[in-house]
Amino acid sequence: MKAGLEVHQQLAVGKLFCGCPGELADEVSGTFERRLRPSSGENRAVDVAAAFQAARGLTYRYESGPANCLVEMDEEPPHAMNAAALETALTLALLLHARPVDEIVVMRKIVVDGSNTGGFQRTALVALDGSLELGGKRYSIPTICLEEDAARKIRDVGEEVVYRLDRLGIPLIEIATGPEIASGEEAREVAEEIGALVRATGRARRGIGTVREDLNVSVEGGHRVEIKGVQELRKIGEYVRREAERQTVLLGVRDALRAAHASVGGLEGVDVTALVADIPNGPIADATGKGGPVLALSLPGFAGHFRSPPGTEERLGRELADQARAAGLRGLLHSDELPAFGVTPAHVAAIRSFLRLGPGDGFVLVADRSAERAARAVAQVARRAAEALDGVPGETRDPLPDGRTRYSRPLPGRDRMYPETDVPPLSVPTERIVQLRRALPERPAELRARLAATLGLSDEIVRQVVAAGVVEELEDLTGRGYPAALVARLVTQEVPAVVRPPTDGFSRDALAALLSAARDGRIAKEGFLPVLQALAEGAATVPEAIERAGLAGFTAADLADLVARVVAADRDLIDSRGDAAFSAVMGDVMKEVRGRRDGREVADAVRRALAPAAPKSEP
């Protein structure tokens, strides 16, 4: 298995080609509607991915607000490139030992899914041939690009997709690694390290959605598949692993299909509406009831291969259904899952006989109220079935929350790129590079070493702090005098358990108030989690949250009373088991303390209460 990453990190420097603020906004003051059509690039070819999107013929609606200007609406040419963004990209290039190009050429990357009002994303290659050392391994960084983020999708209903312009044009640093990553875990570590590098510039945006990863995965004999827009770093490993599994399954299916002499005849289906017109409900009836056709595609040799092989959930049937969905349908039915969904054994027999299928042959049914859409879906499904005979098709896939992915579109090619003629080429003077090289920020490795040395934290804790991007919080709170180990635990464990990403959740002052409460003995560190939860659920202040969490007013005397009560109740146990009863008593006490007192204090109190009562057992 080989994997490569593209890390996309937003910068907090305004927008890349206009003077608007680079922040998300809730206020919408107007909307407008656009239709996009693919245009041809320098060599006159229309990009396959662009043509695919345009074939769907969608109308796009855009929401704009006071924080948007004409540039984002594609009503005014782009302004000069944001100097701070460019400087950040060049700084990163130097941190990654890459070579800045001599002259930067801004390109248009055609994207006609509506996420860019112009129908293209502006992107520029800033540096080449870098590298990253991590854990004794060297990863190549072939390219570092600076590009515009796309508009934010708000709704996707029927034929209209709604985007908001707030995110459009926020600068994104794109750092690509070579295909040298060997496991999902390694992919996550590399992504974390690159994230830490971008944060080292001090210009990374923080918060949800500010980092997105594209994962390029292929297995031996497979094909490059791009999983686009993974937002949760901790899930990278799972996506990579499951994609490798999917490709392996598809290679197995290919071998089985070849052994069965499977084939795909053509791209057109056969109209079998008359054979299934009597089905009263279900997906078939939904189409026939509205006058739509039912098309059958015969797939000789495919019988039994639509289903999952043993030990996996991946299957060819889903791959084909994804194609039907991409064509605008809800799905399809394949012969391995029939009879079902209102299709009876008699229907199956009729279809099989009509298509002249033998026992080893399979078929697929596609139904829709639009004949045109059904025909398009059949063609796409047939193409995908033919690709199954070759193994793994290269494609772009969307990550799903459960760790799986779904087909989204063909892999875009180089035909989608042509120069942005509204922006002149930008030269990168050597003097500028020299200046930037002199002022490079602290690298993550240096940062980790410094934190470990100055704060006395372990390497592993420091690694977690840097990877989670909470160095600012750590430095701020330890600077206010709170113990480093406690702060590190709070910002790397309790806070992320309540809110993700951790930088979005709580103000530094709230965290400081929480640490103060622990220092003053008002709560124990075991109480951090319930108090944070109460804050997240709307408590206005830390004292109110402590109150809501039911942790208020449990004093040392209350603890002594509680321990005495538990010891009395557990007397028989203590008498019979002696020292061995400690953990049982401790457990009973902690159940009632619930984070209101420090665990060590509770243990001491229990130990004290047991000491005189428990007779030493002599050997």
Partner: protein
């Protein structure tokens, strides 16, 4: 074919043709492989523009120690021109599409990095394959020019081609034109074309057609719809009514003006509401739209280009204005406010009028009337013989002046034509709505 060596490789690298694939090395192990693409006018010295395998372009500074070699047999593919699809030629009268260049018919020029006009029917149909979906469209290339390079004599040529198209059986005529001077051409054609049996629709694009979001295709479709269906016998401009690709405004050719340098809805009717709208296939027209005649269309020429347009402004030197007017038969002033020029200009104005030059006054406010009677300055100007042109836009007044100069031998005759409402160019009642 090796191109290396100890001598400076730049002259040979600079001479590489576009589309050639090359490998460049710097002698220290660094290597670039890419295809030579067009050099940008604003690129630096010794910069080779390369398209890398990834599709990205970069500029590479070629130093004397560099080496290069061409990679043979792997020339950049240039996809063949797509063959024109079989177009069902539905019957019925056609719409003539006259092309003049401009953004609406421009494509990226990779030689210069800018946009250049497309030429010929083939390229237009490549760009707008949906153009003749609702009926036949005949494409007539007339010019191949950005509109800043169109001159008044070109209006006469366009008027001739328009009349020829109607004589050829066109139901309506669409003229694709650059937007910079589209308003001037619309005004010029409004006076030059007589007895129109159908709509003459000027149309343009504000956003270049090499972007998927270009307004060119939807504007053109709306213009063709107007030309094919509207009961209209005048020169109009059809462009976006707002920022959406949904509604399009139909503007009378004499009251329309480009009011923004880049927005899709840059064109506005001044002093009155638009003449109509296009929403999908539905065209609606105001009651004051001029209906078609039974024909035949004719060119009401000629024009005399010895007229000009001069904005007055604080600091305009009377001597500079006097020199500017020399050799002209008429001058339209775009005056301040209600139509004023500084008192210091009265001298040359009186001299010019005495010499038989027509001096006409409009307002640079671009809304409302020029009116000489409110202030002493205006009374002095009108007393000197300046012809006040009410709410005519300066550009429309200029086009009308050239036309009038071609139709009357003396100043009095020109002045009389200028004051007469010929094609609905004056708006008598200025309402709150659509007052510009």
């Amino acid at each position: 074919m090796a191109g290396g060596g100890s001598t400076d490789p730049w002259p040979r690298i600079a001479a590489l043709p576009m589309g050639r694939k090359v490998e460049i090395t710097d002698g220290h192990g660094r290597r670039w492989i890419g295809t030579v693409v067009a050099r940008h006018e604003l690129s630096g010295e010794r910069i080779l523009p390369l398209k890398l395998e990834s599709g990205y372009n970069i500029g590479l500074a070629i130093e004397p120690g560099f080496e290069f070699r061409e990679i043979e047999g792997d020339r950049e593919r240039r996809t063949a021109e797509p063959s024109p699809s079989e177009r069902p030629r539905s019957g019925g009268p056609h719409v003539a599409l006259l092309t003049t260049g401009g953004t609406i018919a421009s494509r990226v020029d990779y030689e210069t990095g800018g946009v250049r006009p497309v030429g010929g029917e083939r390229e237009i149909l490549d760009f707008y394959p949906e153009l003749d979906r609702s009926g036949p469209v005949r494409i007539v290339p007339v010019f191949d020019r950005l509109s800043e390079n169109i001159v008044p004599d070109d209006w006469v040529v366009l008027a001739g081609r328009t009349v020829a198209a109607f004589h050829d059986g066109a139901r309506g005529v669409v003229i694709a034109h650059g937007t910079d001077t589209l308003g001037f051409t619309a005004a010029g054609l409004s006076f030059l074309l007589g007895n129109l049996p159908g709509p003459v629709v000027l149309v343009g694009a504000q956003r270049s057609p090499d972007r998927p979001s270009s307004d060119g295709s939807t504007n053109l479709a709306a213009a063709v719809t107007v030309a094919r269906t509207a009961l209209l016998g005048e020169v109009v401009v059809v462009m976006h009514a707002g920022l959406s690709d949904r509604r399009f405004a139909i503007h009378r050719g004499t009251v329309v003006r480009k009011m923004h340098s880049s927005r899709r809805d840059a064109f506005e009717s001044r002093n009155r509401a638009p003449l109509g709208t296009v929403d999908g296939a539905a065209v609606s027209l105001a009651p004051w739209a001029r209906p078609p005649t039974s024909g035949p269309a004719r060119v009401d020429g000629p024009i005399d280009p010895r007229g000009s347009l001069l904005w007055t402004y604080p600091g305009l030197e009377p001597d500079a204005a006097r020199a500017f007017v020399r050799g002209q038969r008429g001058v339209v002033l775009a005056g301040t406010g209600l139509g004023h020029a500084a008192t210091a200009h009265l001298g040359w104005i009186r001299e010019a009028i005495a010499d038989g030059v027509v001096i006409a006054m409009t307002t640079q406010c671009l809304g409302g009337n020029a009116d000489p009677y409110v202030y002493a300055t205006g009374r002095d100007l009108v007393g000197a013989g300046v012809v006040y042109l009410d709410d005519l836009l300066p550009e429309t007044a200029y086009a009308k002046l050239l036309w009038a100069l071609g139709h009357a031998p003396d100043a009095a005759g020109v002045a009389a034509l200028l004051r007469r409402d010929l094609v609905g160019e004056f708006t008598a009642r200025h309402l709150v709505e659509g007052s510009g």
